[in-house]
Amino acid sequence: MWEFFVRSLDASTIFTIAALSELLGQRSGILNVGIEGVMLFGATLGFMVAQSTGSYLLGFLAGIVIGGLIGLLHGFFSITLGSDQVVNGMGIWILGFGLTAYIGYPYTGPLGMERIPDIFGLSPFFFVGVALIVIAWFVLSKTSLGLKIRSVGENPSVAEVSGINVTRTRYLSVITSGMMMGFAGAIYSLDYNPVWSNNFLMGWGFIALALVFFSMWNPYILLAGSILFGTLWQLSLNPQLVLPGLMSRYIWRTVPFIITVGVLMLMSTKWFRTRWGAAKPDALGLPYIKS
């Protein structure tokens, strides 16, 4: 049972970092529905580099760098060209999904490196995740940079008039966000489950995207949601640990997705929105063209 709990927290780490990265981008008004694609890139490139060089550090760096580059690409399409952010995000997801299937294939199989040492049984990245949540909360709500990010996400024209460079702030957010997505992917393939197989994320990125909507754009609620979904995910993989023989293991795999739909539905009801006042950034998904 303890092991199950620890594994759940390990899984939640990936949801935490991935969803936090999306939250950061969305706070600046940039929606990236291609998060799963960026994570696939980070996971695959991180895996390839770590295996070829034998260095975890280089693997993680590769994941972070490719994530940042994809974030830059998303920024170029969404900020500079002002194209539809959903289309761009879809493009990034399909690019990641298609290209990593091809480039990663020769690396199919286990990583074959000594496991990253744990701290009290937990992955060290769990603590990194919690620290990132606190940092993100602090930066977003207590610093002038956070105010800038939030204001370009709420009302870019007013932000521009008050002297904030909207383009620069959005680029900064979207690139940092991409780097964190790549990092989250690399944690999956180098620490959580160090085996490469085709399209192995199977929905982690999309659940992380949904988690941002659940969190009402608040990092602490996001952390709680990530732990809940990490546990759910772990339960769906190993139901025999908790409820042996209840349902087919394949049906267990559907549980996190069904609950995601259910919670998402609840959160979008009028009752919920008026009761809890979701803090959705006003300019989310809208291109800003300086006039």
């Binding site: 399409f77 959903v86 690019l95 294939y105 997705f257 069904i258 998402l264």
Partner: protein, 370 residues
Amino acid sequence: MKLGSYEIKLEKRVALRGWEATAISTFAILFALVVFSFVFVQAGVDPLTGYKEIFSFAFLSSFGLPLTINRFIFLLLCTYAFIIPMRAGLWNIGMAGQLYAGMLSAFAVAFAFGGKGSQGLTLSPGFVIPLMIVAAIVGSAASGAIAGFLKGKFNTNEIVVTMMINFITFWVVARMIKEGGLFMGSSGEGEGFKLSEYLFAPLIKGIPFTVFIALGLGVLLWFLFAKTKLGYQIKVYGKNPIAAKYAGISPSKIPVMVFSLGGLIAGLAGYHYFAAVPGVYKITKNYGEFGDLAFYGIICGLISQGNPLAAIPIALLFGGLTNGGRFAQGKLKLGFGIDYALLGVLMITLVAFQFFYRYKIVFVKTEKEK
């Protein structure tokens, strides 16, 4: 920017004419194919040889052409499943889940009437085959309707919902065909039961009859969008859902409508590939790959700018490219997943080219300074 005595400027398009859209789309595809040649170069293959192999297998060989046509039908149906919600400004990325739902429903009918393997049918195939198609349509339309209902009723993000349903249905299929599931085949190797020969869909000159359904739907959809009230309402909703509401168009009805229709067509794709393609006639082990292939529907839909007739040649081209790609992969000893890589490259090129659907480059002659 200045170039000699000309100034190059970007100008926002007021309207996109048919020929302009065609030119941009064609250029986007060609550009993607040029970019993709790097994959060949990196694998040590001359890109021209690579493309020649792909195209000659896909369109000129007597073995490859029928395979291309089967894929073409599948992709065209997936494209239509995407286009209908797209016209209403909504994203259906649930073609995979919807086609699995259609496939499962069709096989449930076959199973119920004793169409499993060599068992005798309890009713005539003339009755069971149409019933399978109806079941596929109903099952997949219901699957699509969930996302539409949630969008219309609660404004729930349809991208996340359709994607979640993809995963849910993926695992339900696994449950049905593996580890003693009802639809498990007799060999028990993780694939579904083989349809009884009576239930093989009719072929016309070796091509599944579903080709007529797919092409017929193209014309029908063109008519729907261009000439009917519903088509007009979908368009208005797509341009501005709030304005549509004031114009008396129900904001909860349109999403349900477009997602049910889209789902329905994806279900036909599921029926087509798993119950009508010669040599398949079962839920195969690699059904997930067909779910992935369905994402080409997104690209076809975007390149054709939602035009159901323009989608026909594009789906044919992509059917050929993916089919020929798999062949070339084996013949030229390329890595696995060349069709996946192409999917990625095409998609991102298209995203970059979106810009040109909205802007045009104009050359303005500047007067020489005196």
